[in-house]
Symmetry: D2
């Protein structure tokens, strides 16, 4: 299915325009560095199957960390290298109906984390990254990040330090899993790997490449196989049900785009069989989702008719 | 996309064959009538866009009540007649991570029910069916049932009576919503409407028509518009995230088919843009899902390549 | 231990005076009739081992329903007639850390109610009152009420009707217990018995007799045995840990008086080995406890040195 | 009230005899060192107001760590030095209805811990011990321990190391409180203080001195004031409602003795105005309470008529 690129560019422009009318929401305040960004940055990009990327808003200058969007990286890498069966034994694939860092949910429904996109699940997966030393594990992350974004993303050390210092809720989650035998070895090392994962810098132009790969079943624009079809099925399905935590359901009804959000304000989404989308703006609602990001995705989905449930 | 009907028939036969190798699970025991059925009944049917229906197993003789699959009927009818905005004010659209009749979930995250497919949500919607008398509301149900299944389904009065007598957990849910101002009027009447809804008899051949409508965006095989596109988007998205309660996530990963289950052992599923599927067998897992039903859907999805996330 | 009655009278007067300085709290609003009382009524009475009753404030004119204080009646009657072992099989004796009408607590820690003083526990006990007809059960209640208060208390039919009409949360609790096999027979009848129990009218002068009996190990001022020592031990211990729901702990620290509260604003308390106390004023805190009632009890306990933990 | 010491000695002997008939329960298994003790050790001691201590069973040779019984030490010290108002701002005084190391309870009802006897509450109090260095805080503990047990208790370093290594659930609790601003400074240091607190070695003879002090309102056998009356009221009331976690209610009904349990199998209890009691045996029930310990306390309370609610 060919996309009319002129229509798409106009749809992107309108999406940004609509989003900028909204001034609700607040910056993530539990990570000091994230509270220091320009709240007005608003950008969106779409990478098509043919490899062309269209964008609108502050797409070129707006740089942010991936935060929880990066949870896809570790999930994809482990699915490819270790297989779904092992990954499923490390973390489930059910939505929780709770917030992304809920400890009650983990205690009451665990000990295995509910899904790879809540913090507990992603930390548990970081604990399984191959490598004897922390440096090897970071190297593994860099390798997979390059493969999935077709670019070298840099680690934002200020954000990393900020998260490491203030990440005590994630520390609590990790130690609870350690006490239940779900994670092994040095908890602090696993947390450092996890906080590194969250700290890759990107623009929406860079970020839209990963969801493109998912939307094509793993093929890059040159027709090379980057991910297995089964990996894409798995990740896309988990994005559909768990990608926005306890607003995943409303998001899928409104946009029909399986997606993953991060508290930096980024949302990546897959327009199945067509394109990868990245929308970003830092003001968040109470569930940790970018308000302008959702406005842009809903607008784009409606104009381009990209809702997954529609012919 | 045309479907090879010979290949499909073989895929259906194999799906039934595989399912019959499994003897796990137990009949729903909290509704006495449901515990009295033949546990070996196993059937599947697919209705294609061209209107042809293929089936396998005990498709012709295996009759069961719709149970929670019928929750789609009241949701569809109200979306069409009252609009999404009102429906959303009556019930949310988020998965819960809990069982279908969880009262804790309702008390802790309510007062509005989480989604239309948990019992609280469907009871709240039954409370909103237009009509002054109970008879009018049942008539409304009959009308929508006929429209969505293209057939007159009969109410199984033995099952209805059995549910009405033993439905005290649903009664508890309804009175809690009454005390919170979520439902209005006579609670017992609303429950009678709800239990009636659950008690329609069908075969998989009949049951596969509704998901076909959803898969086409609301068009019947003759090209007539039966449901609005927005109704189909809404229902399909909620099926994807909430259709199998707290195994919705795993189901979507494995089959890629947005679906809705019922404790009679029926699961209906939408192969997007292609077909409606109904699979049924009464032995259930601990989440209330038909074990053989899931085996059939997973087998069919893989053989026909019907996972939603794949080109 | 003899009590200086002059000092006591002065302590009562001062307790009322202090209480009247406080204007916080709100009338119970979920029972319309309870929201219609004079919010300024404030009364306290103490009945001593010698049978003399001292009082202060509006003690003579301030009439209120017993509400949850009456839960002691059914507990005492069943302990005497059926024995502790059976009562323990019907309801536990642990504090819950939750509100008095929490359904989550019942669902998650049940099916047996946590203790006889949360609503579920008292309803479960009402379900066990001997008698074939509702009238016999009400008669049983009247008999025990007369015995424990040494007086005929009248049922306030306006309050009863008001509770019966609006008691849907209690109805939800009862139906959940019915669905779990904890209560048997006609749920509505059990609820009528329960709402009758809550609807006895009394003054603090009348209400202070029951805790006197508990404080003496069951002897009335004439030295007649009205309750077994084991019954008094059981009830007093449960009052100490569960009598004020999720503020029982703070109450015991502050006053040292095992007590039971009701949403009409009454609190009865046992000064061990010395006296029975009843304090009442209708404005409640968020846990359903009379604010002025607590002020009076704390003041009295301190002045008279009645904290249970002190020689 | 004078105690017949011959009768008491016989009651102690019988209590041990009855306890030894029971072989249920299991050693605490989450602290390896605690799982290495002789499961048959069974001892009880009572220290009377006159200072005499009677004992039975393995009282002289049976040494164990105080574990959670030591939570009284930090509570008493802070109440004396900082006052009740500050202590209340650091930790509540309500029973939870949950297990002693429940994180859900802390997350859902927090951020302030429910009471000083669940792990979160005791850790929060350890965080408030005065002193700039860890060594000063340990010194503070040693000083208070000596004062409350009238003896120098030694720290069992094997148990301490074992707890420190495996204490990841407590670590999770501490980091959750750190993330909520409830504890300050170095979490690991606070945990080391907490684990030290739990690791004091004692016999029942030594352990029965602390509850004696509580039972007298703070006076030692020589009539010297060791604790304020208000400190004793506070601690005794919290023991009554929270001392055995989610079996505090049943314990108070059965024994009438405000008490505190530890997972080493020790229970200390206050016979109000009369004596301090310590009973110990390592096999625990599912709530972490010594089964033989409870049998001994119940037997002793009945024989000596020490239930708090009885004249």
């Amino acid at each position: 299915m060919d996309v009319d690129e002129n229509a798409l560019q106009e749809a992107l422009n309108r999406a940004v325009m609509k989003a900028r009318l909204n001034h609700e929401g607040a910056l993530a305040n539990y990570i000091p560095e994230l509270a220091a960004v320009d709240p007005n940055n608003t950008s969106i990009a779409v990478t098509l199957k043919n490899g062309r990327t269209l964008s609108a808003g502050d797409a070129k200058k707006h740089v942010f960390t991936l935060q929880s969007v990066a949870k896809i990286i570790v999930l994809a890498g482990l699915l490819e290298e270790e297989g779904a069966e092992r990954v499923i034994s490390w973390t489930g694939m059910e939505p929780t109906g709770r917030a992304f860092a809920s400890i009650s949910q983990l205690e009451q429904s665990g000990p295995v984390p509910a899904n790879p996109f809540v913090n507990s699940g992603a930390i548990a997966l970081c604990n399984r990254i191959p490598g004897k030393q922390e440096a090897e594990k970071i190297e593994w992350l860099n390798r997979w990040t390059k493969r999935l974004f077709h670019d070298n993303l840099k680690i934002n050390h200020e954000v990393y330090e900020s998260e490491y210092k203030t990440g005590d809720r994630n520390r609590a989650i990790a130690y609870l899993m350690k006490s239940n035998g779900i994670i092994h070895g040095d908890v602090e090392e696993t947390l450092r790997v996890y906080f590194t994962l969250c700290s890759y810098d990107a623009t929406v132009i860079q970020a839209s490449y990963l969801p493109l790969l998912l939307s094509t079943g793993g093929e890059d624009p040159q027709g090379r196989k980057v991910l297995k079809r089964d990996t894409c099925k798995y990740i896309t399905a988990v994005m559909a049900t768990c990608g926005l935590y306890d607003s995943s359901g409303a998001h899928l009804v409104r946009t029909g785009l399986p997606a993953k959000s991060g508290v930096s304000g980024l949302i990546v989404a897959s327009a199945l069989r067509i394109a990868g989308i990245a929308a970003s703006s830092p003001r968040l609602d109470s569930k940790g989702t970018s308000i302008r990001g959702e406005i842009m995705l809903e607008s784009l989905s409606k104009e381009m008719n990209w809702h997954f449930a529609i012919p």
